[in-house]
């Protein structure tokens, strides 16, 4: 079995951060079909990450990009992944994501999310950004929404639930947000690469 959307073989998707959001987005997109993923993370897998991130106990200590590459190849051996073990900053972001049709913002810290989204939107001319704000805690599944902020910016989340005392990050709610992201990425790519594809019944505009 191959990916769901074969027509997306020419598409390239960036994933900035391979934590709770990024590891789930990477797995979902590998099953769905974009031809190439550009994944970026400087961190290593820690035991604490296993409560919500798509790694395994025997991968603790590995670089997340290496562990994720192994996992994605177990799903789809021919998946094409460009991996960067670097800390993203305004100087390297435009070059690393230059070829991406869409970039998923999968950071943890609010100021880092701001830096990444601002840089992508101001320095790259055509790349669409799918970012996330507000996914901590549990329950309130339907409070997590996908909204189009502008032609090149789609925002996922409930907008308010930050991590804090008594508000942990959980596999279920982070997973909901990550799959909103992956779903928005696919919608953007199908509009771009396969404009004749039937529109979904309810649009997110």
């Amino acid at each position: 079995m191959g990916p769901v959307f074969f027509e997306l073989q020419q598409a390239t998707v960036g994933i900035a951060g391979l934590g709770g959001l990024g590891s789930n987005v990477a797995v979902a997109l590998t099953r769905l079909g974009p031809g190439r993923l550009v994944v970026v993370d400087f961190d290593c897998v820690e035991a604490d990450n296993l409560n919500r991130q798509q790694y395994f106990l025997d991968q603790v200590g590995m670089h997340k990009v290496d562990a994720m590459l192994d996992n994605l190849r177990r799903i789809r051996p021919d998946v094409e992944v460009v991996a960067h073990k670097v800390r993203l900053d305004p100087a390297n972001i435009p070059g690393i994501f230059a070829d991406c049709d869409v970039v998923a913002e999968c950071f943890d810290r609010s100021d880092q999310k701001q830096m990444l989204v601002e840089t992508l939107l101001s320095r790259l001319a055509r790349t669409v950004v799918v970012s996330v704000s507000g996914l901590a805690g549990y329950g309130r599944s339907n409070a997590i929404q996908t909204r189009r902020i502008s032609p090149r910016h789609i925002l996922v989340g409930d907008g308010v639930s930050g991590i804090g005392p008594g508000v942990p990050l959980t596999a279920a709610r982070v997973g909901i947000a990550a799959h909103h992201q992956a779903n928005a990425v696919i919608e953007v790519l199908l509009e771009q690469w396969s404009p004749d594809y039937p529109e979904p019944e309810s649009c997110q505009a």
Partner: protein, 70 residues
């Protein structure tokens, strides 16, 4: 009363108190500059330029606030 359209909603400022810059607008709304992406009439304003970017009557402003977690 001077007004701005902020995130799709008209926002009136009493008297002549329209904020002069994006930075002043964020201060008036008590929004942390470090966690917001600002767009004025469809153009991204980089955080480093919040203080030098003037605001004018009737502009449409999008403020996307990020909270932590991922």
């Amino acid at each position: 009363m001077p007004s701005l359209r902020i995130n799709g909603t008209d926002h009136a400022f009493p008297g002549d108190a329209l904020p002069a810059t994006v930075a002043e607008l964020l201060n008036a709304l008590e929004i942390d500059h470090a966690t917001v992406v600002a767009e004025v009439d469809g153009r991204i304003v980089e955080r480093g330029r919040f203080g030098q970017t003037p605001i004018r009557e009737g502009q449409s402003i999008e403020l996307v606030r990020f909270v932590g977690g991922g």
